[in-house]
Amino acid sequence: MRDDEPRRRKAWRQAALLAGVLLALAALTLAREQQPANRDELKIPIAALRSQAAVLALLLAQVDDPLPPRFVRAQATQLAKAVGQSRDELEKLHPQPALEPTQQRAEPLASRLDAAVQQLRAVPSPPAAASAAAARSLRDALKALEQSLDRPG
C-alpha cells in the first residue's frame, strides 16, 4: 500500500522529533560529562571497592575450608577484573576541588586491594587469618571514606 502525502509528512515530523529528542539527550549527557564529579559520583567507585574488599575478606576467611583452591583462584581472577575496573573508574574521575583529597586517599587503598587480590590469584592458599584481617581493614578504610561523602562540607 502506498503512503499518501499527509501520512508521509507525519512520519517525517515524527522522525524529526525523535532525532531532536535523541540529540538533546546526547547534548545533556555530554554537558554532564564535562562537569566535575560530585559526592554521589565519587562514592560509586569507592562503594564498589569497599564491597570488593569485603568479598576478598570473606573469600580469605573460607580458603581451604570449605572453598577449594581452584574456586578461590578463579573467583580471585574475576574479582581482580572487577577491582581493576573500579580502580580505573576512580582514577579517571575529575571530582570537585573539595573532594580531591577523598579521591587521593582512596587511590592507594584501591592499589592495595588490587595487589591483595592479585596475590590471592597467584597463591590461593595464603596465611588466611592475617590476609583476611588485612582485607577487613581495607574494607573499613574504604567504608569510612564512603561515609565521609555522606556528610556535606
Binding site: 569485603a54 568479598v55 570449605p66 572453598l67 574475576q78 572487577a82
Partner: protein, 411 residues
C-alpha cells in the same frame, strides 16, 4: 506419562529459568541495600507473572494463539513491529548475560579461560536445543534448576527475622535522604521487571501450543502457573533474605555469581557451594534457552513463518535459523568483554518499557468472551489484569528516569 507427570514437569519448567542472573543480582542487592523493605515487590511481581502467564496459557489452550500473533492482530503492524524489535533486543541482551554468567560459573568450576568457555557454552546450547525435545529441555533444566533450593536452605540457615520479613510485605519507604528514596524506587522497578520479564510469557504460551494443550488443560495451566511461579517467588524472596542477613552485615553487594555462592558455602560447606554453582548453571542455562527460543517464536509468529520445536528444522528452517542466530549474536556480544551483570541491568530496565505492549493484547483477548467463550476472564482475572497493566505502565514510565538519576542503581 500421566497427568501427575505433566504437572510435575510443568512445575519444573516454570521453576527453571524463573530465577536468572538478573533476578539473582537484583534480589540479593535489594536485600543488602534495603533489608526486607522490597519484599512486597517480590510478592507483587510473582502474582503479576502468574496472572499474565495464566491468561497467555489459557489463550494458548483454548485458541492455540501465541502472544506475538495477538500483539500483531490487536495493536497493528507498526506498533507490533516496534514491540518485536524491543522484545527481541531484550531477549538478545538477556541471553548474552546468561551465557556470560554461565562462562563465569564454569570458570569457577574448571579454572578455564573465560572467552573459551563462552564459545563452549554457545556450542553446548545450540546442540542442546537442536538435539533435545521441548520436554527433555524442560526436564533437564527444570530438574537441575531445582538445586537453587539450596539458597532457600541457606536463607533459613542464617535465620530470617520473621517479624521484619512480614513487615517487608507492606510497602514502606527507606530511612535516609531523597537519594535513598530514588534508589529504593529504582530497585523496586528493576525487581518487578526481573520477575515479570516478558520472555517468560511468550515462551510459556508457545510452549503450551507445542505441548498441544486444549481447553481441557486449563486447570493444569492454572496449577502449573500457581505452584511453579510460587516456588520461583519463594526462591526470589530467599535471595533477598540472604542479601539482608548474610551479605548486608558484611558490606558486600554481590556482582558476581560466585559471590552469591559464598553464602551457601558458609551454610553447607563444599556441598552448598557446588549445589549453588550447578543450580545457577541450570537456571541461567534455562533462561538462555528460553530467551533464544522466545526470540525465534516472536519473530516467526510476527512474520507468519512455520515455527515450533516439535517440527523438524527443515520444516521450520527460518525459526531454527532465528534461535541459532540469537545464540551466536549473544555469545559474540558477551565475548567482547562486557560485564554480564551490566548487560542484564540494561536489559531488565529496558524490558520494563516492553511490558505494557506485551501484556495489553493478552488481557484484551483473555477478557473477550467472543474469542474465549466460557473461558474468558472472570471478575478476578479482569481486576488483577487491569491492576497489573496500570502498575507496569507506571513502572515503564518511571524506569528510564530512575535509571539515569541513580546512575543505573549505583547511587
Amino acid at each position: 506419562m500421566g497427568k501427575f507427570g505433566e504437572i510435575f514437569l510443568g512445575i519444573l519448567s516454570a521453576m527453571g529459568g524463573f530465577v536468572e542472573i538478573g533476578e539473582l543480582t537484583f534480589s540479593v542487592n535489594a536485600g543488602v541495600r534495603f533489608d526486607y523493605r522490597l519484599l512486597w515487590v517480590t510478592a507483587l511481581g510473582t502474582l503479576g507473572i502468574m496472572v499474565y502467564c495464566e491468561m497467555a496459557g489459557r489463550i494458548a489452550a483454548v485458541r492455540q494463539r501465541p502472544v506475538f500473533s495477538l500483539i500483531r492482530e490487536r495493536t497493528g503492524y507498526r506498533s507490533a513491529l516496534l514491540t518485536l524489535i524491543a522484545a527481541n533486543l531484550v531477549n538478545l541482551l538477556t541471553c548474552a548475560a546468561e551465557i556470560g554468567g554461565i562462562a563465569l560459573l564454569w570458570q569457577l568450576l574448571s579454572g578455564g579461560p573465560y572467552r573459551a568457555l563462552i564459545l563452549l557454552a554457545l556450542v553446548v546450547f545450540v546442540l542442546a536445543v537442536w538435539l533435545l525435545s521441548f520436554g527433555a529441555i524442560e526436564r533437564v533444566f527444570g530438574l537441575g534448576g531445582l538445586l537453587m533450593i539450596v539458597f532457600i536452605g541457606a536463607a533459613l540457615h542464617f535465620g530470617p527475622d520473621w517479624p521484619r520479613l512480614a513487615a517487608g510485605l507492606v510497602p514502606s519507604l527507606p530511612d535516609g535522604g531523597p537519594r535513598d528514596t530514588l534508589l529504593y524506587f529504582y530497585f523496586a522497578v528493576a525487581l518487578m521487571s526481573s520477575i515479570m520479564l516478558p520472555y517468560e510469557t511468550y515462551l510459556y504460551a508457545s510452549g503450551g501450543i507445542e505441548d498441544k494443550w486444549t481447553a481441557s488443560d486449563i486447570g493444569l495451566n492454572r496449577l502449573v502457573v500457581i505452584v511453579g511461579f510460587a516456588l520461583g517467588g519463594v526462591l526470589s524472596a530467599a535471595l533477598l533474605v540472604l542479601g539482608a542477613e548474610f551479605f548486608g552485615g558484611r558490606d558486600i553487594e554481590p556482582q558476581l555469581p560466585g559471590t552469591a555462592a559464598l553464602a551457601t558455602a558458609a551454610a553447607y560447606g563444599k556441598a552448598g557451594l557446588y549445589a549453588a554453582l550447578i543450580g545457577m548453571f541450570f537456571a541461567f542455562g534455562g533462561a538462555a534457552i528460553e530467551t533464544a527460543l522466545s526470540g525465534a517464536y516472536n519473530l516467526a509468529q510476527f512474520a507468519g513463518w512455520p515455527w515450533g520445536k516439535t517440527k523438524r528444522p527443515r520444516d521450520a528452517a527460518r525459526f531454527a535459523l532465528a534461535w541459532i542466530a540469537i545464540f551466536v549474536l549473544a555469545a559474540a556480544l558477551i565475548a567482547t568483554g562486557i560485564d554480564p551483570v551490566k548487560v542484564v541491568e540494561y536489559s531488565i530496565v529496558f524490558s520494563v518499557v516492553v511490558l505494557p505492549f506485551s501484556y495489553f493484547p493478552v488481557l484484551m483477548v483473555a477478557r473477550d468472551p467472543r474469542i474465549m467463550g466460557k473461558h474468558a476472564n472472570g471478575r478476578l482475572a479482569n481486576g488483577l489484569g487491569w491492576f497489573y497493566l496500570v502498575t507496569i505502565t507506571l513502572t515503564a514510565i518511571a524506569a528510564l528516569p530512575l535509571f539515569a538519576l541513580t546512575h543505573a542503581g549505583q547511587g
